[in-house]
Symmetry: C2
Subunit: 350 residues, 2 copies
DNA sequence: CGAAATCCCCAAAGCGCTTTGAACGCTGGG
DNA sequence: CCCAGCGTTCAAAGCGCTTTGGGGATTTCG
């Protein structure tokens, strides 16, 4: 049943019926009720395609996702998507997933913006110099960002306090007596990795410790990468007594390296990981349970979708800039640093 | 730039231009070339919304996904989605994600089918009695199934050989001397869980062993559930010497239980897991490396999307019914069953 | 009581594409 | 020389909705 038929059934014009259904004021309450009742009764549902053509708005929100073989952030992405879905479903917005490889990502964004299949897109994981943001700005296409853009002026975004989280975690380790700390970070060009790096460095500086006791590595955050990195660090002369991990997956790799080398966590080695709350891998289900800096990536997804919809509804870009606090949760993977058996001068050992 | 403008530019009618672009035969090659060149030059892109309204086809494929707080299959879902995306991108199809809770899943499917926002939907994880399939059949809306429906007549589907995989894995364990085996399976109402169950049972029967040596548990396949289940089994009188796991996550839970009880894998306990190839948790990155029955959920996603598109292109439902073989890959988590120190009569022990 | 304001409602014009039915110019057989 | 037949092209009618620009009733005010 379409609008014309419904209107005929009611002996009203399409105009009136349309307006009644969409809550316009120039229709009397009486007829509105009649119309709504009839629509209900006949199970009338307006055609999204027609509405889209007539209004020019798609009632959909775009998310591009990396379909490259190494979808690194897998478990995170779904959880994030669930958050986005949560709010967008509430407002009857569709979610359009556009697969893309990192190479033609920018083309994908261009297509989304020009085609009009979506009204707004969400960019996640902003980089130091982000061409996606540049493009959308140039096209004047609405978007919001999940993460903190390097230049946030005129951009609505939401981020967690990566700086604070890693500063806090690092301070905590320093207080426990740890001096040699290895930070396994994400890839260097992501702003979040930079923030975390600065957070950790800041804690060292605040404690009056030299910066070179913080051994930092940037890499895609997989368990395997982390494993290799940790093995190498643990077998080196300047063996760290603590690891800062960018994600629970990274912690998993570190745990494996420690186990293989016969190191006990937390006796020989402390581990703090950032935890985005993947339900598939709850940090408190690790062995030992992980000390984490915790934030909900799902909640962030929900919020960023909210912002995206607000943006469609006319909210100015840059109107929202939230940085969510991150809580340090101390569990079983951290302890006081072991006695320094080898003395300070590790260099002599080899 | 729209069709009318492009046509005006070329001094041709919209009809001709439209046909030239869409490859209809009733336009001469000469003008087709001209039109295509001009379209290229002006960067003309037809409006999806208008096309959708005119043709009635959305050029989109629907996937509903469970946005409930416990998105159990998280890592799997992304990998699967990546597969779907891979092929649908190739044919320029959009992917529409519809979030849903298990409760109103059926409503979501109904909406998708009636709204015309998608041309076809993919159902995954069919159940023994599946109301989604029933609904779409009744509405005569195109769909394909990822997994094997309990009644596959007239339905296009693709599945992996769950029966064969678990039969093979179980036989392998039996050959290694294992007699008490615990199977941690998915939820009972899924067809794949039934198939796996039958596969394992069949192996026991074929070896002439009583069925009650196979201890089977149905549950959502999370690491935590598996952990609790494994603890209980390992602390019972009839302690199993081997586990069959429905997924790598399940194996993770079992590994933790074993570690906590001081059991060595594979010396004291063998583990075989089904592996859907989640890149985030490669089975060969576990410690010990997991013996698995391996299949690519991503490839399955790609294939099922292909089928979905074929379905849109007019292929008859039920035209495709593929069951992919599953390979047993022996790694370090399996070994010969330990000597039976306690004798056969475990019942006496308590 | 007439004019202006107020309410409701309507006819019709798009939105940008596809597709039907017709017409055009040309060739070739009768 | 005429007409059927073919290859190309076109004008116009939708697809189902929103929205503009009125236009009857009814009310309100001078």
């Amino acid at each position: 049943m379409n609008l014309k038929e419904l209107a005929a059934e009611l002996h009203l014009s399409q105009t009136t019926v349309s307006r009644a259904l969409n809550g316009y004021p120039e229709v009397s309450e009486k007829t509105r009720e009649i119309v709504l009742a009839a629509a209900q009764r006949f199970g009338y549902r307006p055609s999204p395609a027609a509405r889209r053509l007539a209004t020019g708005r798609a009632h959909a929100l775009g998310v591009v996702f990396n379909a490259e073989r190494n979808a690194l952030m897998d478990p995170l992405f779904v959880e994030y998507l669930a958050g986005v879905a949560e709010t967008s479903a509430k407002q009857g917005f569709d979610i359009l997933i556009s697969p893309s490889t990192p190479r033609d990502e920018i083309v994908t964004f261009g297509r989304l913006a020009r085609d009009g299949t979506v009204d707004v897109v969400i960019i996640s994981g902003p980089k130091l110099t982000d061409e996606r943001i540049a493009l959308l700005n140039e096209l004047e296409f609405p978007f919001v960002v999940h993460g903190r853009p390097s230049d946030p002026t005129g951009i609505s975004y939401i981020d967690i306090d990566n700086f604070g989280a890693f500063q806090q975690a690092t301070s905590f380790l320093i207080q426990l007596g740890h001096r040699r700390v290895t930070l396994i970070n994400g890839e260097e060009h992501f702003t979040f990795a930079q923030d975390r790096s600065r957070g950790a460095a800041n804690a060292f500086a605040a404690a009056g410790l030299p910066n070179d006791m913080l051994d930092e590595h940037f890499m895609p955050m997989t368990a395997e990468n982390a494993y290799h990195c940790a093995r190498q660090a643990l077998e080196s002369d300047a063996r760290p007594t603590a690891f800062l991990c960018g994600s629970a997956l990274v912690a998993l790799g570190v745990l494996r390296a420690a186990a293989e080398l016969g190191l006990d966590v937390p006796r020989d080695l402390s581990i703090v990981a950032h935890d985005d709350e993947m339900p598939a891998f709850p940090a408190d289900q690790f062995h030992p349970q992980l000390t984490t800096t915790r934030s909900s990536i799902r909640a962030a997804g929900a919020r960023v979708a909210e912002m995206a919809l607000a943006r469609v509804a006319g909210q100015k870009p840059g109107a929202v800039a939230e940085v969510w606090p991150v809580q340090l949760i101390v569990r079983g993977s951290t302890a006081a640093a072991p006695e320094r058996t080898g003395g300070k001068s590790d260099g002599n050992r080899s």
